[in-house]
């Protein structure tokens, strides 16, 4: 069992009367990829800043790489902040090498490492360009590289995927996997669930400063029941008595209707229920199906399920 690289214990942070982070506890084992999920304004960035000791928690304790403050081990940490920015006038290789030297790398080693990374991740031709001449996405890649150039044990990336095109998102996913396989621990925050689903060993979901969920992808799937999506014209009440069915909810589906006059239903079923039974029941009852989907709920669904109302409220606020 690897040691935990990071442990948060009942951490709180208030700004005046606003509680940004409320009683959050979790632990991250070494060598894992840990997803930090939550809607906008959930407290992800505040939590990450407290982990880095840029902000002090009001109450609670943080243990990072065995120390109480990230400042004592800052050379072993790599950090990409949420809002991206670089010195505009500096050359690409120089900025990566500069941040690496600030993390304790020796000057020549940092320089070599910068060129190595730029070549590896497709920015070789821009090594001598000034940062201000780069596109936003490229700038962001440079910043990610400058955050990890010193091979930190713990990498903390705040919204690393925002602003990247799909190709570069994949490059970044590969970078994260590379680091994990090299034994580095990676924490990243995002609100795009697909990345978390593809990358994370474990994930933490917070909303309104509170921890809502902490566990593996399997744990996530256990949270909301499996479901069958039906599209049909007839009455489905008879299906509700079928074994394993928990309930049915109608979904409005105006433009997605596959046939005129049909309705869309989401039927939740218990784990390990055989959907064949339900399908058979449909035939028996003469329900004319235009669609029958048996899906595992995506992380996205779980996310919406868990924080949906809160997130919408936030948007309206």
């Amino acid at each position: 069992m690897p040691e935990n690289v990071l442990e948060l214990n009942r951490v709180c942070k208030r700004y005046g009367s606003f509680t940004a982070v409320n009683d959050i506890s979790f632990a991250i084992p070494a060598g894992s990829i840990y997803g930090f999920l939550g809607p906008n304004g959930a407290g992800k960035t505040t939590t990450l800043r407290m982990i880095l000791d840029i902000l002090k928690p009001d109450t609670g304790t943080i243990s990072i790489l065995g120390h109480t403050s990230a400042l004592n081990v800052r050379q072993r940490i790599g950090y990409l902040p949420e809002e991206k920015g670089l010195y505009k006038k500096m050359k690409v290789w120089a900025i990566i090498s500069y941040f690496a030297t600030l993390k304790g790398m020796e000057k020549n080693a940092a320089r070599l490492r910068a060129f190595e990374l730029l070549e590896q991740y497709g920015l070789k031709d821009y090594a001598d360009a000034k940062v201000e001449s780069l596109s936003k996405g490229m700038g962001q890649k440079v910043q990610v590289l400058s955050a990890v150039a010193h091979r930190p044990e713990l990498v903390i990336l705040d919204e690393p995927f925002s602003g990247l095109d799909p190709v570069n998102q994949e490059v970044l996913e590969q970078l994260i996997r590379d680091m994990a396989s090299a034994g580095q621990t990676v924490i990243f925050s995002t609100h795009i669930m697909q990345h978390a689903e593809r990358l994370c060993d474990r994930m933490l979901l917070i909303a309104k400063g509170r921890k809502i969920f902490d566990g593996t992808l399997d744990d996530v799937h256990a949270i909301i029941p499996r479901r069958v999506i039906l599209e049909c014209a007839g009455d489905i009440t008879s299906l509700l008595t079928s074994p394993g069915v928990i309930g049915a909810v109608e979904r409005p589906h105006a433009e997605h209707a596959r046939a005129e006059g049909t309705r869309l239903w989401v039927i939740q079923i218990e784990e390990h229920t055989n959907p064949q039974v339900l399908l058979q029941r449909c035939f028996e009852q003469g329900i004319a199906l235009t669609r029958f989907d048996y899906t595992q709920p995506s992380l996205h669904d779980v996310f919406v399920h868990l924080v949906g109302s809160d997130a919408r409220e936030h948007v309206l606020r």
């Binding site: 880095l52 840029i54 902040p81 920015g85 993390k103």
Partner: protein, 527 residues
């Protein structure tokens, strides 16, 4: 410490790469060049001015011409002095001035006290011809021949169709096209604009003013002497004419009152020279030289240099901090270094570039006087010697560094609180007002370096570097020197400590700049 050094090196390297930095460094030599080089060039390239003299009284034409001739001689005289200084033998600088220059310097001295008499003496001695013969043995062998400046004021002929005996008003009316530049006068086959019209009406003597007698008409009466010119800035012609005519009128007046003009001349040229002595100097060396006067004024130059350099550095510090804040680079930095390391790194890096600028300025100044010999630079060279031999430079270095640390601390704190330069401007306002004070009081303090205002200002830490620098040549009381230094150093420590507190909390702030109450809360914050 390694982090501070890394940050300082980056700040310095990046600052040195900016255009603004080089503009700052090059501006000084360019201004220096402009002052010494273009000034001579400009004075030589001033176009020939054509004037038209209409003397209806028939009394003063000669005086006007004499005045203009004198003006021309004055220019030759000055050019000649420059020429001699530039081209005299360098092998034996001690000996040369003692010989020929003694007379020339006497002339220059006379020119300051009684220019008319000095010029008279110059002309009586044979003018340029004589002076050249006098100076030749002392000139370098390969000295270029002296080129006398060409005549600057040349009379223009009366344009055709103008009746010189018409009433002044008519003449002016008829000459308007020429005066306004619409028509050109023709002199020696060349057409050029009319620079000035000097109109002396027949009845001009009725407008002479005498003490205690109310003049018969207003000054601008039709019978008064008139000088018409569109150019209001070049007053040499009008001044020369006025001076010359007045000399003539006064001579006439003396004759009318039975006073011998020659006696008056002699009386006018009688003077009692006064030696300026400085009691603080060693016995036998009390005479005050130009260099001494300069030494007392030099601190003013340093105060000014300090002011410019401080402003430059501090502004850069501010905009640089704000850039990091608005780009959110600050967060990455703070994940790598402590706020204090960041602050100190910036302070050192930018301070170093400020010192580079000053060093470059002094360097070009030195090179300039070393390689561009001339009357003015000769004097500057002596001043430079004075500076190097005095203890002003160490004082300057100390007060510059102290002032920089003090103001940089404050401006860094301001920068850390703002997200845009616009926001910073309102917070900077009070600081700018404070910084103006030493500049405004600069001359006053130099004149009264140990007076109450100077002493009080010395004890206000924000003004200490400027004021004490200003007083540095006046041997301020030991109490002031030590006391203010202690207060200054303590203030620097306090300011850096407090601004470190603000900086730590300010750099991660977003949104509006804080209110005073919030800043006070930040200062109280214990970390």
């Amino acid at each position: 410490m390694r982090m501070i050094l890394l940050i300082a090196v980056r700040e310095y390297a990046e600052n040195v790469k900016t255009k603004g930095f080089w503009a700052g460094i090059l501006l000084f030599p360019i201004i220096l060049m402009a002052v010494f080089f273009f000034q001579t060039l400009l004075s030589q390239s001033t176009p020939t001015r054509h004037y038209l003299l209409i003397d209806q009284s028939g009394l003063y034409a000669e005086a006007v011409e004499a005045g203009i001739r004198q003006e021309q001689q004055r220019r030759i005289f000055q050019e000649f002095v420059n020429y001699v200084v530039e081209n005299r033998r360098e092998a034996n600088p001690e000996q040369t001035p003692a010989g020929a220059n003694a007379q020339i310097e006497q002339m220059l001295d006379d020119a300051g006290t009684d220019e008319v008499a000095a010029l008279d003496a110059w002309l009586e001695n044979g003018g340029l011809e004589f002076a050249l013969t006098l100076a030749t043995p002392y000139l370098r062998e390969n000295a270029p021949p002296f080129a006398a400046p060409r005549e600057q004021f040349v009379p223009a002929p009366l344009p055709e169709g103008i009746d010189p005996q018409a009433s002044p008003a008519t003449i002016v009316e008829q000459l308007r096209p020429w005066l306004s530049g619409e028509r050109l006068v023709e002199v020696n086959g060349e057409r050029s604009p009319l620079f000035a019209l000097i109109l002396i009406p027949a009845e001009v003597n009725s407008t002479i003013q005498r003490p205690g007698v109310t003049p018969p008409g207003a000054i601008l009466s039709a019978s008064g002497m008139q000088y018409w010119a569109r150019n209001l800035t070049d007053t040499r012609l009008s001044a020369a004419i006025e001076r010359s005519i007045n000399t003539t009128i006064r001579a006439n007046e003396f004759t009318a009152r039975n006073v011998d003009v020659q006696v008056v001349r002699e009386v006018q040229r009688t003077r009692l020279p006064m030696s300026r002595l400085d009691p603080s100097k060693a016995e036998g060396e009390e005479a005050v030289s130009v260099a001494d006067t300069f030494r007392q004024w030099a601190p003013v130059g340093f105060v000014y240099l300090m002011f410019i350099s401080l402003m430059q550095s501090v502004q850069y510090l501010l905009s640089n901090t704000i850039e990091e804040k608005s780009n959110r680079i600050i967060e990455v930095l703070l994940a790598s270094v402590t706020p204090l390391e960041l602050m100190m790194g910036k302070l050192f890096g930018i301070g170093l570039s400020g010192i580079t600028t000053i060093a470059a300025w002094l360097g070009t100044f030195f090179l300039f006087i070393a390689f561009y010999p001339g009357a003015q630079t000769e004097l500057l060279g002596q001043f430079f010697q004075v500076l190097l031999s005095s203890d002003l430079i160490p004082w300057f270095v100390f007060y510059f560094l102290a002032g920089y640390a003090l103001y940089a601390g404050i401006f860094l704190a301001i920068g850390s609180l703002c997200n845009t330069l616009k926001e910073a401007q309102s917070l900077m306002m009070p600081m700018m007002m404070v910084l103006i004070v030493p500049l405004v009081t600069m001359t006053f303090i130099a004149q009264d370096p140990n007076g109450p205002v100077a002493r009080i200002m010395s004890w206000i830490p924000l003004f200490t570097p400027f004021t004490m620098m200003n007083r540095a040549a006046a041997e301020p009381p030991l109490l002031d020197v030590i006391g203010t230094t202690v207060v200054l150093l303590l203030s620097i420590a306090l300011v850096l400590w407090l601004s470190g507190k603000i900086f730590r909390q300010g750099v991660l702030r977003t949104g509006q700049p804080p209110r005073i109450v919030e800043i006070i809360r930040m200062l109280r914050h214990k970390h």
